[in-house]
Amino acid sequence: MELQPIMRALWRNRTGAVLVALQIALALAIVVNSTYIIVQRLEHMGRDPGLDVANLFTVIFAPTGSNFDPEVAMRDDVELLRALPGVVDATRINSIPLSGGGSSTVYYTQPGEKGREALGNYYEVDEHGINTLGVRLVEGRNFDPSIVRRLPDNSSAFVPEVIITRAFAKEMFPDGSAIGQTVYDGLGQPARVVGVLDKMHGAWVDWDKLDNVVLHPVLTSERFAMYLVRAKPGQRDSLMRLAEDKLAAIDNGRIIHKVRSVEELAARSYADDRAMTVYLSVVVGMLLAISALGIFGLAAFNVSTRTKQIGTRRAVGARRFDIVRYFMVENWVITTAGVLVGCVLALVLGYWLSSAFELPRLKLYYLVAGVVVLWAVGLAAALWPARRAARVSPAVATRTV
């Protein structure tokens, strides 16, 4: 291999080579760290929320005044919704999971704010809550309809029983089953755990207690209530229109303010993550394209300026393959140098991101993957110019003075 003459030739034209290597190094640093951020966000967005997000929608209403009889009107509305063709189930609820709005409180395992404690995101639903949300009950039972009741307004009354998620159960009762255990509110009022859900996400997608959800058997007051409806697969959008029309046609002292799919509300909550993913993906794509074009441009240029040298080499016996190999090896040397420097830059950038923005530390296999990709891009970009170089005729050597 003619590594030595290649190095010598490179050294003579080092500025160009250094620039290409630097470009590759910077590109590697950005590509690796951006990809890492993208993957994290995709994982964040791809978590299983435990409920039937695709088929749920919510109807938000507002009482117009004292002509609104809350119990009668809300009962009628929910019954109307349940009877619509294509509806799986419906419930009154105090806020919508994944929507970014909700209520949370602290629960204790002993009265008087003692024992183990955990924050829980609570939802007030009736006995149709579990079926409407599409969550899976893995232990215990659903609420008994007879205990679902309305709490007085502005009161700190508590509920007789609750259903909790497995994550919440684990935090409160790490040893053994949670069924039959008692949780207490801050005032020491008890509630018995009657059911455990496999999984359910709460209101705030960036909250580290997102999996801590508690269901309360309560007919939510009109101050917070909205309706949550689960449609049969594929019928959500038509049902949303139908539900709005049917409800709006009844004048029972309230107006229908908004009908929104839970999918849309969840997408809103994840909007920043999605924007970041899209933006960084575009940057990574453009960066790879620019780097490839840059390497390609420079290699092509080098070939065209060295036509005479190539012709001479061909005239004194170099095969086409030798010429291709020469340019590929030259490019390989530059790319490798760039990738090596790039590894250092990528680690520095990763360290800066993790220390300044509390992002998790860069995983090394991302670096390895990035190195492979840029190597491949670098070599691929040089291939065409190298093959063109091989087509230079040996006669060129004799042509000029």
């Binding site: 950005i30 951020i37 991101l353």
Partner: protein
Amino acid sequence: MFDYDLKLALRSLRRHIGLSMLMVLAVALGIAVCTITFTVYHAMSTNPIAWKNDRLYAVTIDSWDPEKPADDEQPEMPPEQLTYRDAIALHAADIPERSLVMFKSERVLNPQQPGRTPFYTLVRVTHGDFFPMFETPFLYGSGWDREADAGPEPVIVLSRETNEKAFGGENSVGRTVRLGDNEFRIVGVLDRWEPAPKFYDLNNGSFQEAEDVFIPFMWGETLQLPAVGNTNCWKSEQIESFGDFLNSECVWVQMWAELPDRDTRERYQAFVDNYVRGQKAGGRLPRPLNNRLFNVDEWLDFYKVVKKDNRVLIGIALLFLAVCLVNIIGLLLAKFLNGAALTGLRRALGASRKDVIRQHLTEVVLVGLAGGVLGLLFAVAGLAGIRAIYGDTYDRYEQLTRIDPVVVLVTLGLSLLAGLIAGVYPAWRIGHTSPAVYLKTQ
């Protein structure tokens, strides 16, 4: 002379048209990415009432749990909002030039006009000082005075949009609307007012729209209006009625004071501290004395309006631009050195080193400008794309993606600078190449 430089530059660019386009594209992409990132960042970091930054102060006191701070991530800070009773007590002071306490509620508004149906509105329940303090523009009429606050009188101010929905946009001052069960007299209609970020109440997102209607604060208690912003409670208290809620340690009320100078500010701070000491003597407010007045900039900072993500993106955009620059330097250098023979000839015929450098720099500036303009077009298209994808559902993207003249100027400056940085070395290099070397071999 300039004509000649331009002619040479254009000819040279045309000779290697592919390479020239590649360079312009590289500059353009770098500029576009930076412009888009800067636009969003700039919109987020704007203080929408910067000219009153040293007069307007958000008032906070540390009324939280003796065991732990209100926010574990900023443990030195008091909670963002006040309890109802503290807000009422603090508002009684006459030290500030103006002051207000407020919260966000909701009601159905009935325009009581033939053919217009009732609709849902977000209600800001606040004092009349809101309007002069935050300099809201009025289309018709005005706000209300302190007498109306004290009544409270049934007066209401509509947003421009609400007035359009309820009255088709005509001057509705003097008419009445029904808000829930109660009639309110319209005293003013705001013109378009979209402070972004929504500095005066950042609780439910920094880029929410302003409320639909405004009514005097005391109606909140009279009509038992629900607070629909954030309500945070640390203490387990027995609550049986609306009165119990108002007396609880839950924080849900916002407060602002206009303090025109340092002296007033110090007197007001002393007043707030004294009030808290008095409450401590009565057994309330157990945390260490920590009452803060935030100016608008500090307030936006406290709420972290500029997201971490966007700071990361600024860094990545600049690095991306750097890659583009390195790319162009390499290409320019190769291109110039390739034309060295011609340059050598020109030098031999009497062109000075300065002439050669200038000629090459002209080329560089052309590439930079073309890249800048193209990059701006890309950025406009990119921002329009973001709006098209997100604008309908998320109104804040509407506000965050507006093209800003400052950003455009910065971008054009940046593209010129980028071009120059990228071009100085190649031009210098070619200027210092000995002409003889190139004349000899050809």
